[in-house]
C-alpha cells in the first residue's frame, strides 16, 4: 500500500503510475458521497446475517433492449444495495427488484419491492413481489393490455403467494399454528411494499406510455429533460408532525382497488422506480441528491456496476437499503 492515500471517507485511491511505471493496468474506484457522508459511511464494519448466507449484499444489471432489427429501443439499469444499517447490524438486504420484457416484446415490466423492516422474513416477501410478481404480470399482459388490466386481482394474487410462502416458511421453522394465523399475523413475519411499472416499448410520437401501480411507499419518478424530478405518487410523510414508519404492505391487501398512475417517458428522459432508501434522500428531487442523480443519470451510466455505485452513494444518516431500476428510451434514428 506504499504511496496510497486515504480519502476523507475511507476509500483508498492508489496512484498507479507512481507505484510502478511498468504496471499494465489502469482504473480506480472511489465511492460517491453527496454532502456530508456521515460517520457510518467510513466506520461501519459490514457483517453477514448468520441466517442469510445466500442473500447477496448487492445485485445489479445493465442491459439494452433491442428491436427486431437489433437496434436499441431502450437502456435499463438496476441495482439493489444493502443499507449501511443492515450491514452494521448483520441483517440481510430486504429490498428486491425484478424486470422482464413480455414474450411478445411489447412491454417492459418492472417491479421494485421494499421488505418491511420489522418482519424477520420480509426479504422473502420482497423477492416474491418483485420477481414472481413481474413474471406473473408479464405473462398476464399477453392477453390484456395495461389499460384494461385487472390490477386488483393481480395484487391479490401476489399477496396470496406471499401469504402462502410465509405460512410455509413458518411451518418449516416449527411454528405450530402457522396455518391458523390471520393474514395480519403472517404479515408480522413477512411483508413488503411493491411498485410495478409497465412500459410500452412501442412509442407514440416518440414517447413511451407508462402505467404504474403501487402498494406502500415505493415510488416512481420521471427525470424530465432539464433535470426536473417528477414523482408519480404522492411524496410520503409530507406535513406529518413527527416521522412515522407505518406503511401499507402485502400480504395485507389495500382496502381500495389500486388505480394505475399513467405517464409517458421520451428520449432524453428516464423512468426511475426506487425504494424509499433512495426516495427519502431524494425528497422532492430539488436538493443535493436530486442534483447528483440528475448529473449521473441524465444519460444511462456505462454499466450496471457504475449505476450500483450511484445508488450506493453515502450521505449522513441515510443508511437504509437502496434499490432503483431505471429506463432510458433511445431515440430512433
Amino acid at each position: 500500500m506504499a504511496g496510497s492515500t486515504e480519502t476523507h471517507h475511507g476509500a483508498v485511491a492508489v496512484p498507479v503510475a507512481d507505484a510502478d511505471p511498468t504496471a499494465d493496468w489502469r482504473g480506480q474506484f472511489e465511492s460517491f458521497a453527496v454532502g456530508e457522508p456521515g460517520r457510518a459511511a467510513s466506520l461501519v464494519v459490514p457483517v453477514p446475517d448468520p441466517d442469510g448466507w445466500d442473500r447477496r449484499d448487492t445485485v445489479l444489471d445493465g442491459v439494452a433492449l433491442l428491436d427486431g432489427a437489433k437496434k436499441r429501443v431502450a437502456e435499463v439499469r438496476a441495482a439493489s444495495v444493502r443499507g449501511l444499517s443492515h450491514r452494521a447490524y448483520g441483517t440481510v438486504r430486504q429490498d428486491e427488484y425484478g424486470f422482464r420484457r413480455t414474450s411478445d416484446g411489447r412491454h417492459l415490466v418492472i417491479g421494485v419491492a421494499d421488505g418491511v423492516s420489522s418482519g424477520k422474513h420480509s426479504h422473502r416477501a420482497a423477492l416474491i413481489a418483485a420477481r414472481k410478481g413481474v413474471e406473473m404480470l408479464a405473462r398476464a399482459l399477453r392477453s390484456t393490455g395495461p389499460e384494461t388490466f385487472p390490477w386488483a386481482d393481480f395484487v391479490r394474487a401476489v399477496a396470496n403467494r406471499i401469504e402462502r410462502s410465509g405460512r410455509d416458511r413458518l411451518i418449516t421453522k416449527g411454528v405450530a399454528d402457522a396455518e391458523g394465523m390471520s393474514v395480519r399475523e403472517v404479515a408480522e413475519h413477512l411483508a413488503t411494499t411493491v411498485l410495478y411499472a409497465v412500459v410500452d416499448l412501442v412509442p407514440v410520437n416518440g414517447a413511451h406510455d407508462v402505467h404504474v401501480v403501487s402498494v406502500g411507499d415505493t415510488s416512481a419518478w420521471v427525470l424530465r429533460a432539464g433535470g426536473r424530478w417528477e414523482p408519480l405518487e404522492a411524496v410520503k410523510n409530507d406535513g406529518a408532525e413527527l416521522h412515522s414508519s407505518s406503511v401499507q404492505a402485502l400480504p395485507m391487501v389495500p382496502g381500495t382497488a389500486p388505480v394505475p398512475v399513467r405517464t409517458t417517458v421520451a428520449p432524453g428522459e428516464a423512468l426511475v422506480v426506487m425504494t424509499d432508501g433512495i426516495g427519502d434522500p431524494l425528497g422532492h428531487g430539488t436538493g443535493a441528491v436530486g442534483r447528483f442523480l440528475t448529473d449521473v443519470w441524465s444519460t444511462p451510466p456505462a454499466s450496471g456496476l457504475e449505476f450500483a455505485a450511484h445508488v450506493g452513494f453515502s450521505r449522513k444518516s441515510f443508511d437504509d437499503d437502496r434499490t432503483a431500476v431505471a429506463f432510458w428510451p433511445v431515440a430512433r434514428a
Binding site: 447490524y89 425528497g283 428531487g285 430539488t286
Partner: protein
C-alpha cells in the same frame, strides 16, 4: 437540503442539581455525558442520527448543553454544579420550550424528527407546589403534538409515588417506565447505572429504527444493572 429528510432521534437528559446532589452524585452526573460520547463513538449508524441535549435544574432550570451532535468536534461538555432547590416545574417548562424550538429548527433544516426521549434524574421531592409541577408536566405531555417519551429515574430520597406520575406515555403499547435505585444502593453508583440504561436505550432505539421502528426502546427488566428496578405506572397508584 430543503427537501431531503434525514431522520433524527433527539435525546434529552434532564438532571437534578439541587444541593442534595453535592459530592459523588454530582461526580457521577458529570460522568454521564462522556459515557454517552464513548458509546456513540462506537456506534456510527446511531451517532449519525442522535442529537443529545442536557438541561439541569435546581431552583431554576438551565440548558447546559443545547441539543447537538455530541461527536461534533466543536462541542464542549458542560460541568454541572449544584444550585438551590428542586423545581420540577422549571425543568418541565424549559424542556417543553426547548423541544418545541429544537424540533421546529430541525424540521426547518430539512430533518425528519423522531419523538424526543427524555431521561429525567432526581434525588428528591419537588420543592414546587404540587399543582405547579403537575400543571407544567401536563403542558409538556398533553395537547403537545411533539410530547416526549418521558422516563423518570429516582435515586436516594426520590419519592417513587411522585416520580410515577411522570412516566409518559403511562399506558399503551409504547408505555415508558420508571427506574428506581433499590434500597441500600449507593446513590452515586445508581446514577452511573441509570447512565448505562440511557445508553443501552439509545443503542436499542437506533437498532429499532434500522428495523423500521420509531419509538424509544427501554431495556428488558432482566437486562437491568443490579441495584436498579424498573416500574410501570400501575406499580404506584
Amino acid at each position: 437540503m430543503e427537501s431531503e429528510k434525514a431522520k433524527l432521534l433527539p435525546f434529552y437528559l434532564v438532571i437534578d442539581v439541587s444541593v442534595s446532589m453535592t459530592g459523588d452524585k454530582l461526580k457521577q452526573a458529570n460522568a454521564i455525558m462522556p459515557a454517552v460520547v464513548d458509546a456513540l463513538a462506537d456506534a456510527p449508524i446511531l451517532s449519525d442520527k442522535v442529537r443529545f441535549g442536557v438541561i439541569d435544574f435546581g431552583s431554576d432550570a438551565q440548558v447546559r448543553l443545547p441539543l447537538c451532535d455530541l461527536l461534533d468536534e466543536n462541542v464542549s461538555l458542560p460541568a454541572l454544579t449544584v444550585r438551590g432547590a428542586t423545581s420540577f416545574a422549571a425543568a418541565f417548562r424549559l424542556l417543553r420550550a426547548e423541544i418545541e424550538s429544537n424540533v421546529k429548527q430541525l424540521k426547518a433544516d430539512g430533518f425528519q424528527v423522531h419523538r424526543p426521549a427524555v431521561f429525567f434524574i432526581s434525588d428528591g421531592d419537588p420543592t414546587d407546589r404540587e399543582d405547579d409541577w403537575r400543571g407544567a408536566f401536563a403542558e409538556l405531555t398533553e395537547n403537545f403534538p411533539i410530547y416526549p417519551n418521558f422516563v423518570p429515574c429516582g435515586v436516594d430520597d426520590a419519592n417513587p409515588k411522585i416520580l410515577a406520575n411522570l412516566i409518559h406515555p403511562a399506558t399503551g403499547p409504547k408505555a415508558m417506565q420508571m427506574y428506581l435505585m433499590q434500597n441500600g444502593q449507593n446513590p452515586a453508583d445508581a446514577i452511573a447505572m441509570i447512565a448505562e440504561i440511557l445508553i443501552s436505550s439509545m443503542l436499542a432505539s437506533g437498532q429499532s429504527i434500522a428495523q423500521g421502528g420509531s419509538g424509544l426502546l427501554l431495556p428488558d427488566k432482566q437486562d437491568l444493572p443490579s441495584g436498579i428496578s424498573a416500574h410501570s405506572s400501575e406499580d404506584f397508584v
